[in-house]
């Protein structure tokens, strides 16, 4: 009489060793067939052990040593003070002052930006590559901002080695501005690293703080990087955050996982083409846990296809984001 299938499986998979079963299998053709099938299946399943693992994670990026809860607490208290005390006062002044807007505060056209950027490139970095870089993306994405505004940013950049830069950077609550400041600071540090100058720990820490600030900031709708008083759209913020992140990765090697996780969480809430794009391409397909250069290649690849041609403008922001 044949043993049950369970006994045969246990026999083949090494869970059971019995002389009776062995001698029976030798005589019974039906059992021989089953055993050979189980053996083949066993070999096939064992081959799954050889799935290659491309391990690229660093343990210390799972949890930042910085206590994130304190950040939340401090920002919540700031928000409460803001809404209860300052908002009515600011609101009053905003309404009064908005009636007296001077022409110099308005955004300028592309030619002025180019001129300003050229000046930045020549005075700060003694080369044209920065200008070319920014100019090309600016014109592609039609980003405009005022002359005085850029000069203000430059003053931040000039003060990098000096003290109080951290306070200055955080004086602004507008993430759009902070992203630009972050970019300029990181750009400065990047150049220093390229030419082999020593970068201060304080400056690196500052960049990290800015990054943390991005990851925990959200507006009432849960959107990423948009301050309520900021009229800039997500792609515009993402544009500068992207440039900043690119430099950050260059300087630090990678983005800490918990920060990346928070950014992702907020980005996923956005109901726009861009966020769909992030969801499908960056976070699910190619992100590999970190915003790596590899993702950029895949998007570039997609840009070349006809399917995405109509959405090119929206995607340019994302390309820079990476």
């Amino acid at each position: 009489m044949c043993p049950g299938k369970e006994a045969l499986i246990a026999f083949v998979f090494g869970e059971l060793s019995s002389d009776d079963i062995l001698s029976h299998i030798k005589e019974c053709q039906k059992c021989q067939g089953l055993v050979s099938e189980y053996k083949m299946l066993w070999n096939a399943l064992s081959s799954l052990q050889n799935i290659s693992v491309d391990k690229k994670i660093a343990t210390d990026t799972f949890l930042e040593k910085k206590n994130k809860k304190n950040y939340y607490k401090s920002y919540v208290s700031i928000l409460l003070i803001y809404f209860v005390i300052f908002l009515p006062i600011f609101g009053y002044f905003y309404i009064v002052e908005s009636k007296k807007v001077s022409p110099s505060r308005s955004l300028t056209d592309a030619s002025t930006i180019n001129y300003t950027l050229r000046k930045i490139a020549q005075s700060q970095y003694k080369g044209k590559w920065l200008f070319e870089d920014i100019n090309s993306v600016c014109s592609a994405y039609k980003v405009t901002f005022s002359d005085g505004y850029i000069q203000g940013l430059l003053s931040y950049v000039n003060e990098i080695p000096q003290q109080n830069i951290e306070e200055k950077a955080f004086q602004t609550t507008n993430l759009y501005e902070l992203a630009i400041i972050g970019y300029y600071i990181s750009q400065e540090l990047k150049i220093k690293k390229i030419i082999g100058e020593k970068i201060s720990d304080k400056a690196l820490e500052l960049l990290k703080n800015i990054l943390v600030y991005f990851s925990i900031s959200q507006n009432s709708d849960g959107g990423f990087g948009i301050h309520p008083r900021d009229s800039k759209s997500i792609p515009q913020v993402a544009f500068w955050v992207g440039l900043f992140l690119r430099n950050y990765i260059f300087l630090h090697g990678q983005i800490p996982y918990n920060i990346y996780r928070n950014m992702k969480k907020y980005l996923l809430k956005e109901n726009s083409v861009i966020s769909e794009f992030i969801k499908v391409v960056v976070f699910n397909k190619e992100a590999k846990g970190y915003l790596q250069r590899r993702a950029l290649h895949s998007i570039e690849e997609m840009l070349a296809t006809k399917y995405l041609e109509s959405k090119k403008d929206e995607i340019v922001g994302m390309v820079i984001f990476l």
Partner: protein, 185 residues
Amino acid sequence: MFVINEKKLDDKELFQLLKRNDEKTKTLVVDMYYEKLYRYFILQGFKAAEAEELTQETFYRFFYKIKAGGAIINFASYLFKVAKNLVVDNVRFRKKNETLRKRFICATQNSTPKKDCDKAIGNSILIELLNVLNPQERDSVIFHIVLGYTFEEMQALLGISLAKVKRIFYRAIEKLRILYFKHSV
């Protein structure tokens, strides 16, 4: 069983070290379970990038739990429990985004070697067949054959009795045999 400075430590002792935020122990735990979790996700039908993402998410939740003061008695059991929950969540999410996914695949015709690798793993008959099994049966096969856990260890991982573990495993193997040879023919 982990070995630190030639001392054998069990999960309880390691947990105390992790509570003190010991970096060396953290690395050790990641080294020990990273590959197992990664393979687990791959065999659930996820692509390589997704599997890596989910593996990191699992570790993140694990370390976060310890940091928040939670107690973990059995590391493997907790990690795979988190992994199982992530699989359920992501399968739901994946279904929602299936259309976008298809459009993406259409848009990236020129595949790189890594994508080819993904495709090969994704299309592997065995992984497809594993996904035909119910979650418990699939887990029993993955844990026992691929990840090398014994039936006794699987009791804790699956949260069921030894007899039930064996019964589920045998049932899964029989189902796989029928499907595998039917598929091959």
